[in-house]
Symmetry: C2
Amino acid sequence: MSQRLIPAILSGGSGTRLWPLSTDQRPKQFHALASERTLIQHAAARMSDTDGLVIAGPILICSERHESMVESQLGALAPAPSALILEPFGRNTAPAAAIAALVAQEADPHALVLLMSADHRIGDGFPETVARASSAALDRIVVFGVQPTAPETGYGYIEVGGPLSDHVNEVVRFAEKPNLATAEAYLAGARHLWNAGIFLFAPTVLLAEMERHAPDVLVAARAALAAAKRNGVRIQLRPDSFAACPSISLDYAVMEKTDRAAVIPMGADWADIGSWSEVWRLGGKDASGNVAHGDSILIDAANNMIWSEDQTVAVVGVSDLIVVQTKDGVLVLPKSRAQDVKQLVEQLKARATTPGA
Amino acid sequence: MSQRLIPAILSGGSGTRLWPLSTDQRPKQFHALASERTLIQHAAARMSDTDGLVIAGPILICSERHESMVESQLGALAPAPSALILEPFGRNTAPAAAIAALVAQEADPHALVLLMSADHRIGDGFPETVARASSAALDRIVVFGVQPTAPETGYGYIEVGGPLSDHVNEVVRFAEKPNLATAEAYLAGARHLWNAGIFLFAPTVLLAEMERHAPDVLVAARAALAAAKRNGVRIQLRPDSFAACPSISLDYAVMEKTDRAAVIPMGADWADIGSWSEVWRLGGKDASGNVAHGDSILIDAANNMIWSEDQTVAVVGVSDLIVVQTKDGVLVLPKSRAQDVKQLVEQLKARATTPGA
């Protein structure tokens, strides 16, 4: 028997650490960082009919400022989006997940929802993993875990419990981003997976758990959807009602509290491409280990990440450097400091809003 | 008694090593590299009535492609240019010097000519040095020497001979760009000065020496001037007649052969601003030794040369780096490799002319 599945894609990330490519106006999910397709195009085309799963048109949840970009990037894809939910501003993932579940339930009360971020990169084999998790998802919220390869302090972790079914296990607990010592202990203990931020659920299950653990979010989400302006697949949330939704993550509002969570290992490469050093790591390299995108010329240069949007970028005699040029600016810093772009962007924003600056 | 002097400014340099700021379309003399005025504006305003010298409007010699830039940059200066000699292409300095001498002679047969490059930076005290050299220049070609501070291999040298008059000495010989061992010997010997490429002469003297040592240059220069199209101060050289001028430097054609050369020490700071490390050396520095021009943001950055034309340039955690952004490109390289920009520009030009590249 076949099972219908509706992908729900959250396009809420800002990709701050990929400035000046990723900006508020065009965050990283709208860029082709690791292939010729943009990350949101990858996300929307990620699932295909597999092992009894029948894939419906995805639900997109994005900022209203990005509507035209979503339409131009996803317009040519099949299946066409079944809903385009427009947020007037971000309220984190819990309200978005609730609204997506409600919209999916309207469309097909028996379909599963696969909630995932628009800005992750996932390799081959993912649809098969989802198919394996689908029967467990009929009465559990299944999350997808990634085998840690390093003591990462930037991710949440999932402690894996006993087996439930084919590759699916209980969740002992969710752990927030750990410090380094804790992350090293997780890595050594081999009982923790990275939380990939992907959720597979029946809308009735998610909504029941939200009613139990975060009823205020669910009430506000229902009200925001009821007040939304609809036109075909387009669902425009109104600022006043959407503002009443608590800004809270799905992990914090539901997952850390529910006893109906389950976890399955990803069975596919996963990366959140959170920084320029990650773009370098994933990129195709020349003989000297450089990743170069766009019009560039490199002389005596090794292991650099070069990104040029519309100018000639010339680099001589440097190594392990990030050099990025876009219409929004030029960035130069060592790969080892790729995380500091976030701090830089904060300074740029502060400067932009300082009178007289 | 007062002596009339006509500055003659050669705007022929291309400033290759200052790419991407300096380009064929707008070479370095048309940029404000070391103050709010461009180098050619500095050159045109360099002399003022001093110690018996009366300064006439300068003669400008430039590429016809730069005519409008010269006019817009020098239009507001007083005294206005007395001649604007437009070259259809470059033929090195000897033909330009001959034509400038001929034009000066037409305007005032008793005036001295001070021939200098548009793209050097000269500090205070220069007009006084010129005044001191002016009586010697009535029958000698006086060149200006700079006290060496390092064994530079990029400059020509002048071996200084016995005294002639107030600070003016005979020239034993001109030496071309030396190798390092020779440059070190010159520095240790204290008998050599750098050749600043500035010449003070009476037109009759220069033309007589050119007739003696490089008659083909003089004949061709006279013919090119005779065939030029004139309109007010504008003297447009024609390609066919100007092409007949040998492409040769004044040093090689005349100075290395004449026995009527003399030398005077500059008595002022001199720099040719030939590279980005030189722009850094001359620039105003922040507390961390950075020189930053334009819209830039620096975090944990020391001793860098940052130049931004029209974008935000953000630099984190790097030192002793050159980062330049203009509409023509982005350049990143260590200060220690500033000379290699020339090689880079050659590669860029080769690339631009390679079929299929």
